[in-house]
């Protein structure tokens, strides 16, 4: 009896360990990569606070998308429609503001479309029991095609088409001056973040709290852990799945607006492969693809690692543009294998 209790206890401890261990590995990896960048590229300004903030500035949209992706992956599903949905959002914003509609109206429209899109996908996955991959693949086709229906040209948002949106995009929130540095001309460069970063961080914290402290958040973990057990416990599995996909598409729409604030344009080929970045970020951040385990802060660090890789390649300047893709894939491979090894160890201990 005693030994049984003991093994149960150690098992519990180990379970906690292997999941937190993945998160710790991710954070350590990020710190090591960033430190290495600072050492190697110190002369190219990698040590400035602004370099780090630029990673955030450039990836604010991806942070929102990764948060949504984490929620879906917690249920054991996947959402590959996000890249195309972002392209559609950007196109809609660019087209709408070009036609003279207010930026606020267009943003509201984008979010409503995101909710409807998520509802349809969630309904197909939850209530019709179709594989998430197939449903979101169709969603991906659909959104990309609709982007082309709106316009096949590259539309851009300028000060003339929408002063409001332009204002949002160019607003800088300055941080305390002591974090800045003196540039070559003797002027102090005060570090800044964009509006989209504030939105992204707010989303991150909100989703963290939702996942941790609300009934809905915990039901996602339960469904991902074991659908059958969750159903037997009295959870409405279908509804939880539906909500997860609606949340994902909703966050993706917010991410789309953040993304558009960055690019200020809409085109059919925009954000291709973004779904891959989001999934990779989640996996690197310790979210299990089988569901039930994960954390949005892990995904956040995954995005930062992604951003650091492209930032390093950009700072180097000599490497081909396909290197970030390859490096991300290598990391992805490493983490996937690591997860599988952990899972195997856990099974053996059972």
């Amino acid at each position: 009896m005693k030994t049984e209790q003991k093994t149960a206890k150690t098992l519990g401890a180990k379970k906690m360990n292997s999941n937190t261990l993945l998160l710790i590995i991710t954070i350590v990896l990020f710190v090591v990569m960033y430190a290495a960048g600072c050492v190697v590229y110190a002369s190219k300004g990698f040590t400035h606070v602004q370099t780090f903030l630029n990673i955030l500035n450039n990836n604010a949209g991806l942070v929102c998308v990764a948060c949504g992706m984490t929620c879906v992956m917690l249920t054991g599903g996947i959402d590959i429609s996000v890249g195309s949905l972002i392209a559609m959002d950007c196109m809609l914003l660019a087209w709408g503001t070009g036609k003279g509609y207010s930026a606020i109206v267009m943003c509201a429209l984008v979010i409503i479309i995101g909710l409807v899109f998520g509802f349809v996908q969630g309904f197909c996955v939850g209530y019709l029991n179709i594989q998430p991959f197939i449903v979101t693949m169709a969603g991906m086709f659909f959104a990309r095609g609709m982007t082309a229906v709106i316009s096949t040209d590259q539309l851009s948002i300028t000060q003339d088409t929408s002063a409001l949106f332009y204002g949002w995009a160019n607003a800088k929130i300055q941080l305390p001056a002591f974090l800045g540095y003196v540039n070559g001309k003797g002027k102090v460069q005060i570090p800044y973040i964009r509006v989209s970063v504030v939105v992204a961080l707010a989303v991150l914290i909100l989703i963290f709290l939702v996942l941790r402290y609300t009934k809905f958040g915990r039901s996602l973990y339960a469904v991902g852990g074991s659908e059958q057990s969750a159903a037997m416990m009295g959870l409405d599995v279908k509804k939880a799945k539906l909500k997860a996909y609606v949340l994902s598409s909703f966050l993706c729409s917010i991410g789309g607006i953040c993304y558009c604030l960055n690019t200020m344009s809409g085109s059919v080929s925009q954000a291709t492969g973004l779904e891959m970045d989001a999934i990779a970020s989640c996996v690197i951040g310790g979210t299990l693809l089988t569901g039930g385990v994960g954390n949005v802060f892990g995904s956040f660090f995954g995005v930062l690692i992604n951003g650091t890789i492209s930032s390093l390649v950009k700072t180097n300047g000599k490497l081909a543009s396909s290197w970030p893709n390859i490096l991300t894939a290598v990391l992805l491979c490493f983490f996937i294998v690591l997860q599988s090894v952990f899972a195997r160890i856990k099974e053996k201990n059972k």
Binding site: M137, T152, T290, A320
Partner: protein, 357 residues
């Protein structure tokens, strides 16, 4: 009525219905345009080669058909999909052209400039396909990683590696010997022959050996198959391996068609077409029983839809919308909950009628 019901239960019912629907749309369109209704089926010989809309569909659909062979086996054995095939196609094509032209060379216009003989390039591409297939297979079979996730790695990396091999260039091999795989032998389009040979070899192997049964057994219940004495892991590995080889062949055909290696565009979204072909063919995406013929018909159906849409004047950027709708409708029809609901509804109606009587 009973016969009709029986017919609709057949596995090939769905793909054949789709083909008929596409044909009907084409015929209606032709007649409305004032052409004879058999315009679609007309096969003529122009410039010494076969031509006509039907031939064009079968010719253009070859790559998807070849991919569908591998994908069917992968889906059947592992209950998952290999989403890396499009990228692997691109990688193999790039590797082939890189070997033939030499690294960093962007254009070759005669056989004298070859860095390697043609055959070395082709074998290299096949080898690359084997390596990619083995990589996916090892991850799925031996490390127990979800198929979609394992293939996600190459989905992102393969195209990028291909770009790297080609030094970010589009490598042109403007040599007739290379173009033959996407061109014509005599009057026959070569891709049709290649696809037919691939289908023939695989189906003979599946029929003559117990391989087909093994794959299905593993797909239906991996554990039970292992207990029955099958090496489940090796069979899953082999399926992914074969899928890689199929992707390499499709890559060579596609690159030969345009006599160049365009890493960014070869095989783009092709994995989705291949998966769609398998689903259209009436195969369950959850693994288990499969029907190769269904997948092949599915592949040509997709090409027929695409070609028809071009004929109707839908631009290539917009056509994904229709494809998406087709996919969702088909999988929704196949989904269990909807079928249960319809059955319940029918039973309810029958009850009511009985009560009335």
């Amino acid at each position: 009525m009973d016969k009709l019901k029986k017919l609709s239960k057949q596995q090939l019912f769905l793909p054949i219905m789709c083909v008929l629907l596409v044909l009907a749309v084409n015929i209606v369109y032709d007649v409305s345009q004032g052409s004879p209704f058999y315009n679609f089926f007309r096969i003529t010989i122009e410039n010494g080669v076969l031509s006509g809309r039907l031939i064009s569909i079968i010719n253009r659909g070859s790559e998807v058909a070849i991919l569908a062979i591998g994908m069917t086996l992968v889906v059947s054995a592992s209950g998952g999909t290999d989403i890396s095939v499009g990228s692997v196609m691109s990688l193999c094509a790039s590797f082939c052209c890189m070997l033939i032209a030499g690294f960093g060379v962007s254009s070759v216009s005669s056989a004298d400039e070859f860095a390697c003989p043609l055959i070395v390039g082709l074998l290299g591409a096949l080898l690359m396909g084997c390596v990619c297939g083995a990589f996916n297979g090892a991850l799925v079979a031996y490390l127990n990683i979800q198929p979609m996730v394992a293939t996600l790695i190459l989905w992102s990396a393969a195209r990028a590696i291909g770009l790297l091999l080609c030094n970010n260039l589009i490598v042109y091999i403007r040599v007739p010997e290379y173009g033959i795989f996407g061109g014509y032998i005599g009057f026959m389009p070569t891709p049709i022959i290649i696809a037919a040979v691939c289908v023939l070899i695989v189906s003979i192997v599946l029929k003559k050996t117990a391989m087909g049964m093994y794959v299905q057994a593993v797909g239906i219940n991996k554990k039970a198959a292992r207990i029955a004495g099958l090496n489940s892991k090796r069979i899953i590995f082999m399926c992914y391996f074969l899928c890689g080889v199929c992707a390499a062949i499709a890559g060579i055909v596609n690159s030969s068609r345009i006599t160049s290696a365009d890493s960014n565009n070869i095989g783009l979204n092709m994995e989705l077409d291949a998966i769609l072909a398998v689903a259209l063919g009436g195969n369950s995406l959850g693994g288990g029983r499969f029907n190769l013929a269904g997948s092949i018909i599915g592949a040509y159906t997709i090409q027929a839809i695409t070609t028809t849409m071009y004929n109707l004047g839908v631009s290539s950027a917009v056509s994904p919308v229709f494809k998406a709708v087709v996919v969702i409708v088909i999988v929704a029809i196949q989904s269990q909950p909807l079928q249960n609901w319809i059955r319940k509804h029918r039973a309810h109606a029958a009850d009511k009628e009985a009560a009335k009587a």
